[in-house]
Symmetry: C2
Subunit: 139 residues, 2 copies
DNA sequence: GTAGGTGCAAAGAGTTTGCATACGC
DNA sequence: GCGTATGCAAACTCTTTGCACCTAC
């Protein structure tokens, strides 16, 4: 029984060919993927699968906490990535659309200050940096 | 000649009834607005205007730097707000969707560190906090 | 065997575009 | 009067949904 089968069983999701390959693609991706990206990558592996199934599986994975959804200013698509145990952020290249995941967060103190000042109960935050990656800025 | 007429003239945009009312609604809003929001607020004032014109004007205002666009995790719509001279961030209420604009930014040093570590030329960033506003958390 | 999963096609939301008319300068 | 702005309707993109069939457990 492999890693993905265990994940599915733990979350109470039935083990299907489609869910296993989705997990595999998501876990082997360097950056967040859109539904369309996943659909294409799965097709590239010679597996056929409906786009609506991709959306439905992404929804169930998000519900179960296996993946997290994010939206960037540079595209209208929703992106999905494996939920990281550690909170992190993103560097997004405006030129080639590459997304780099950055571990760690400098905002704990600031968040506490804001919460007090605005009497706002903060649950979470998103922090994305937009600019040019090494290749695009030197090229 | 009022404030909005001056803004339009400075940016080289023709002065039209539609552009003036859009500026007025945007400047008098407490939080960012979607195209649909603007359309509704304008209609409320008894002015009729096409939704596609709203989109087109938002695009030209964005190009001219009069407004900035943002996307939040809580909705699929693009939101627009008057471009602030000072960099700021947002507190978004998950319950009532209220958006509070926060002035100031704690990230300058962190941004410089990241840029060096990842050899990434950072131009800008977005920082949004999600949680519950005073009314929604006490209610 | 049954509950839940999948595929297909159609619907839906948000946004964009083509084209004819109208209006600012 | 010219060139740009606007309105309308149609198109487009991304995502969701209804329904019949299929598959894991």
């Amino acid at each position: 029984m492999n890693k993905y089968q265990v994940l599915l069983q733990q979350t109470g999701l039935k083990q299907t060919r489609q869910r296993t390959i989705m997990l595999d693609v998501l876990y082997n991706s360097k950056g967040p993927l859109s539904a369309e990206d996943l659909f294409g990558l799965i097709k590239k592996r010679g597996v056929s699968m409906s786009l609506s199934t991709v959306y439905r599986i992404l929804e169930s994975f998000t519900d179960k906490g296996l993946v997290t959804a994010l939206t960037l200013e540079t595209s209208k698509q929703v992106l999905y990535e494996v939920a990281h145990a550690h909170h992190g952020h993103h560097l997004i290249c405006i030129s080639c659309s590459k997304v780099i995941h950055v571990e760690g967060c400098p905002l704990e103190n600031y968040e506490a200050k804001l919460a007090q000042k605005y009497r706002f109960k903060i649950d979470d935050h998103t922090l994305n940096f937009y600019g040019y990656c090494e290749q695009c800025s030197t090229g």
